[in-house]
Subunit: 396 residues, 2 copies
């Protein structure tokens, strides 16, 4: 399975993946999922939010089942494991259960969520968020990519009907319990010396778009004192974000920036920068963002620029179901339980009231969202066995 | 003439111009120039560097002539006047001389220089620089645009033979004196209360590419202390550039930045930022850039990043020919003489030993390299009359 996936959307220059929603690469990845499901005789459905599901057993007839899976899309120049490891491990765990000749008392489903990273349209987990109703379909349809193409037009391009995009309570009702396996995106399991762990919670996190507006002008002839240069306001804000996050044991990153007109000899008229911020507690996150907005506005006054801050997405603290979490840790012989600052579709389903858990597979460098992201083969195999054990425990 | 030009390469959203070298828009602009030349019965030639020339009289037979003109390309979202005003005024001044029934003792030529702004391939005045030999044709051919297309491939796309790109001493030998008319890109003429002025010198200026390299990683899960974030190194450098320029009465701008991978939830692996810097004296400019490199490197060590600085172009002080400048000022009844911090093809020709001067037309806001750039119709007409007076004085 891994071999069929490995070349899709891989950049020959960086070695990183560029698998964005509603692109030709996305279409290839969806086909791959269809083929894996069909090969195993699973029932394939696509929910109204565009997420793919492959069911072993019939949840409409036998009652809600146990679902697993993850996503196949990537951040720009992302690694091979973030997302795909969860989907590939789901199929592999199913194969293991078939080999073991188990008899299901509940159906098992594999999900492939659409657009988890939000790389193209800016909203992470848009597939699971539309599914649960956390993201309004009208808002989703109106999202635009960097070239100004709307989510609705991109859907139509991909052969999907934009007007059918909607929450799908029937699809959700098929899921009693959801367990997502994911490569760890930090160093927690290295420190525990364990190949597999169980998630306790997801930190509150969100994305804020900072629009700094100044006045375009000639970079050579305009006196420094006559300028309204939004790059300066941004630079101060980026440094403040770092300082605020350090002092609060939180995270704050400006990793995406666009400029207009973006010419070497023109002072920018506009700098748009996206803040990704996360903290252990909601209050800490609020305080961090509020302080950052204050400092940005204060500097904007000095620079003769303006700053406008828009919340693009915001997710509160997700605490995974405690009995389920403890059961998984017990099934896995006392696997470590640890929090994460990364958002996941599992978090969205948990917030929608579904009993949800996550398994993490050790990441030997801790690096993620980078071509250098890695997981050892032995740890991946341990992940598949752990997922199979958990599914057997829950579905038989 | 202005009406035929006004829509070419104009963005419907910003109202600014996007006229870049070797694009369809560039082709339309070159056609416009051909038509204006042909309509007047001028001899049209293209030199080996790709610049267009239209001659009234034969400089190969009658000896070197008086040339005027400017460029038609723009910065991203540039104004309507920077460049085109000089070309349109050249044709209009010629029309005026014809109406006046003058008899030439020297040929008059109109030049349209290719790629003055360097918006696409990064090197300003590449047309005049290749012409004079200041830019090596091999280096020019190897320049690439944002999509990785080389100058050579873009030439081939535009129907020009890349291997023919070369200095053109024969074309240069046709020019005894060059006078470029240009919209002023500052507020000097407002302060003098004059519609037209004469240039004294062009400040030393250049472009430096700063490549800040760090390590891509997950924006949520990577502890602040484990990061190597090049955005922080860049932010400190951008603020330092502003401070250095202010304290030295110079100019320093970061107006163009590209990021990799440029994802909201990924720490950047690379920030590339272009510094445009200018100062009245070469020593001041050198000191500014040296100090900036020092501060960038110092901060990079703290951030765990690296910084590499590459000179993309560098032009020393251009002092226009003093007797010519004084003659022009006298012909124009004592027009003010003032320096500029903006680079021009006239500066490149002057450095190549051609007797060169510039006329500036008043800019009522001082704003340039912006859709807001403007010149009043009355001042433009005064510019045409001034150029005609100067050409008549030099060519009869």
């Amino acid at each position: 399975m891994w071999t069929d996936l490995v070349d899709i959307g891989r950049s020959p220059t960086t070695g990183g993946y560029r698998r964005f929603a509603l692109t030709p690469e996305d279409g290839q990845l969806r086909e791959w999922f269809e083929q894996e499901a069909t090969r195993r005789g699973l029932d394939l459905t696509v929910d109204r939010a565009g997420n793919q599901w492959a069911w072993w057993g019939n949840p409409d007839f036998d009652g809600p089942g146990i679902a697993t899976g993850s996503h196949l899309d990537s951040v720009p120049d992302g690694g091979a494991f973030d997302g795909p490891l969860g989907v590939v491990s789901a199929f592999a765990a199913l194969d293991l259960l078939v080999l073991q000749g188990i008899t299901l008392s509940r159906p098992i489903g594999i999900a492939c969520f659409s657009d988890e990273e939000g790389s193209r349209f800016g909203v992470a987990c848009s597939g699971s968020r539309v599914l649960t109703g956390a993201l309004d379909p009208d808002r989703a349809r109106a999202l635009t990519d960097q070239d100004g193409m709307s989510y609705a037009d991109a859907m139509a391009w991909a052969g999907r009907a934009p007007h059918l995009l909607a929450p799908d309570p029937e699809a959700l009702a098929r899921v009693d319990t959801f367990v997502e396996l994911h490569v760890e995106q930090g160093r927690g399991l290295i420190e525990c010396k364990a190949p597999v762990g169980v998630a306790s919670e997801i930190w509150p996190h969100g994305r804020w778009r900072f629009s700094f507006t100044g006045r375009a002008d000639h970079a050579g002839t305009t006196r420094m004192s006559d300028r309204a240069d939004p790059m300066l306001t941004f630079a101060v804000t980026a440094l403040a974000a770092n300082k605020q996050a350090r002092s609060r044991e939180a995270r704050a990153t400006f990793g995406r920036v666009t400029l207009a007109p973006n010419g070497t000899n023109a002072i920018p008229s506009q700098v748009t920068a996206w803040l990704d911020a996360r903290a252990e507690a909601p209050d800490t996150l609020d305080a961090l963002v509020t302080e950052l907005c204050r400092q940005a506005t204060e500097r904007a006054e000095r620079d003769g620029t303006t700053v406008e801050v828009t919340v693009e997405s915001s997710t509160g603290l997700v605490s995974f179901d405690v009995p389920l979490r403890d059961r998984l840790a017990a099934v896995l012989g006392g696997a470590p339980v640890l929090p994460t600052a990364a958002g996941h579709d599992a978090g969205v389903l948990s917030t929608a009231g579904i009993r949800t858990a996550m398994l993490f597979v050790r990441n030997p460098t801790g690096i993620s969202h980078s071509p250098e992201e890695h997981a050892e083969l032995g740890d991946c195999a341990a992940g598949v066995r752990a997922l199979a054990d958990v599914l057997r425990d829950l579905a038989t």
